[in-house]
């Protein structure tokens, strides 16, 4: 057992958390391999990584839905492994698929959920009205959930996670499947919750979501945390600017261009990503003409060129050697490039 220091402002303390599953033919799949997390009261903490990185498995362990493999997890002052019922009473959890019931109205769902958390009828009714206001559910709270749009349903899901005023709210991929407008709306609601002092732990594979909402981000890949910090701190680590070169002539051109550009002193890092070259330079304005001149001299044609400030994707690439968008996770609205 690992000793965990109790910190009064610490809502989640996780040490050396692991989980493996037995896969096909007795092969063991290590989904989470030694994760440490500290979440402070009032912050929005983001878990960023591609699908299959171990985000949801970690979240499910912290919310008592999955037995802990090994390690320690203290959530809202209670040991998850030893006091799961106490943890449940103090946390809210909104799963990827939600959990609102088609045959209920939104209001009925909230009232039932509140009662299941042990509230008495009067206080649950008052809290329900409060949440209907907070998440802007008033227009449709008395309609059956089956008639809701994706965005309305999601806001109800979040409200369901908040009925008992939890110490911390867990959101698993909150904006997956939402159109840009509903996403923006959900983000505003989450900002409101932060302003009201709610601690939020969310997972996402959207870089812009982590960037826009989170006070701190942990980047997780293959069950390990590879980077941790505020979005701006993380981006600062990838100094300079990124240049994305999309080449016209495929693999040969990539090899040729890599050999050509890599030795240049202005190029700090260079990596090939199916058909594209990504490099980091100190100063884009100075580097671009030089790069273009060199490519032109060797008759390497370009589809497009893109100069950008570093994003969390660059951070992800730097720590994992892969782009988050190449992991098959980045469907849907991106907007990561600024």
């Amino acid at each position: 057992m690992i000793k965990v220091d109790e910190h009064p402002d610490q809502v989640i303390t996780v040490r050396a958390l692991r989980k493996s599953f037995s896969g096909r033919r007795g092969k063991t799949v290590e989904a989470v391999r030694g994760v440490d997390i500290d979440v402070l009261r009032g912050e929005i903490f983001g878990f960023l990584g591609p699908n299959g990185a171990g985000k949801t498995t970690t979240l499910r362990m912290l919310t008592t839905l999955l037995p802990i493999g090994s390690g320690t997890a203290i959530v809202a002052g209670q040991d998850v492994a030893r006091e799961p019922a106490r943890v449940r009473a103090r946390i809210g959890y909104v799963s990827q698929i939600g959990g609102a019931d088609d045959l209920d109205t939104g209001r009925e769902s909230l009232l039932l959920q509140g009662r299941l958390y042990g509230g008495d009828a009067a206080s649950v009714a008052a809290r329900t009205e409060e949440l209907i206001g907070l998440l802007d559910l008033g227009d449709f709270a008395n309609r059956r959930v089956a008639t809701y749009s994706g965005g309305q349903r999601r806001r109800l899901d979040v409200a369901l996670g908040l009925v008992h005023s939890p110490h911390v709210l867990f959101l698993d991929e909150p904006s997956t499947g939402l159109d840009p407008q509903n996403r923006a709306n959900l983000w505003e609601r989450i900002e409101d919750l932060r302003a009201a002092g709610t601690t939020i732990f969310l997972t996402t594979h959207y870089l812009d979501e982590a960037d826009a909402l989170c006070d701190r981000v942990a980047i997780i890949d293959h069950g390990r945390i590879v980077a941790l910090g505020s979005p701006s701190e993380l981006k600062r680590e990838v100094a300079g600017q990124s240049v994305m070169l999309s080449l016209r002539d495929g693999a040969d051109a990539i090899t040729q261009a890599t050999a050509l550009l890599e030795p240049l002193p202005i190029v700090r890092e260079l990596s090939a990503l199916d058909g594209d070259l990504r490099l980091y330079v100190e100063d884009g304005g100075e580097a671009l003409p030089a790069l273009l001149r060199l490519l032109d001299e060797h008759h390497i044609g370009l589809h497009s060129i893109n100069l950008a400030e570093p994003t969390l994707d660059d951070v992800f690439l730097r720590y994992t050697g892969r782009s988050l968008r190449d992991t098959g996770a980045g469907e849907g609205p991106e907007g990561a490039e600024r």
């Binding site: 839905l65 959990g99 609102a100 019931d101 045959l103 009662r115 958390y117």
Partner: protein, 248 residues
């Protein structure tokens, strides 16, 4: 008393859902009536004495308890997909309550359908023994509870509709055929009669005929309770365990 409170809250929800689903209500009422109308007449020539319904109607009641139990898992699969089960599991609500509440709601509906069936049967000559039917109701409740808990546990383990349907349907047919629901097993060969003794539904069907006739002293009655009570407790305990550990 969180168990009782949570059970009541969740059973109320299930009941409201059932009432909001008129198609389901219609099927629930019409199926047993169809059996009475379209199958009972065929039995006339096999029954030597008395009304054919005295023989047949108790079997149909057992069949309904069995069917409404075994179908319970379909709702579980649906709620699993919709995230509803997870939403309940993350609350401190009693796990047993989450499991048992929808079963109790279905059971209440079943008893309403049963009463309707008995009323219609009585109009066509079924002899009603009130006390016998009351004891039979307890037995049917046990059977339904046991099969429903099994069905829900199988739904949680298989997690998807086609695998679940394969398991449940694969089990239903032999269990039904080896219980003598439609025709008494006693007319069959010896190996069938021996095999039937390993089938819990068989005991309920046999006891249901005795109880409907008002003969409490029959061996069938105590045997049915002796088989059903421990079996039901066992299956409930197992299903609750599955509920606690199964991962959606």
């Amino acid at each position: 008393m969180t168990l009782a409170r949570d059970t009541l809250l969740l059973a109320r929800r299930s009941l409201i859902h059932a009432l909001r689903n008129p198609v389901w209500l219609f099927v629930g009422v019409s199926t047993p009536l169809l059996y009475l109308a379209l199958f009972a007449p065929l039995l006339k020539h096999y029954i030597a004495h008395g009304n054919v319904l005295d023989e047949f109607l108790p079997g149909i009641l057992s069949l309904m308890a069995f069917a409404s139990g075994s179908g319970q898992g379909f709702g579980t699969i649906f709620e699993l997909r919709a995230g509803v089960i997870e939403r309940f599991r993350v609350t401190p609500a009693s796990r047993l309550a989450i499991l048992v509440a929808p079963i109790l709601a279905s059971m209440l509906m079943m008893f309403v359908f049963d009463a309707l069936l008995v009323a219609v049967g009585a109009a066509f000559g079924f002899g009603v023994h009130w006390l016998g039917l009351l004891v039979l109701a307890v037995l049917l409740g046990l059977l339904m509870m046991m099969w429903a808990a099994f069905s829900i546990a199988m739904a949680l383990l298989t997690k998807e509709i086609s695998a679940f349907a394969a398991v449940i349907n694969g089990l239903n047919l032999p269990v039904l055929l080896l219980a003598g629901v439609l025709l008494q097993i006693s007319v069959g060969p010896e190996w069938m009669r021996v095999l039937a003794h390993f089938n819990p539904l068989y005991y309920v069907v046999e006891a249901s005929r005795s109880l409907a006739a008002g003969s409490f002293g029959s061996d069938h009655v105590w045997q049915a309770f002796a088989v059903l009570v421990p079996l039901c407790a066992l299956v409930l305990a197992w299903a609750t365990r599955v509920f606690r550990t199964a991962v959606a």
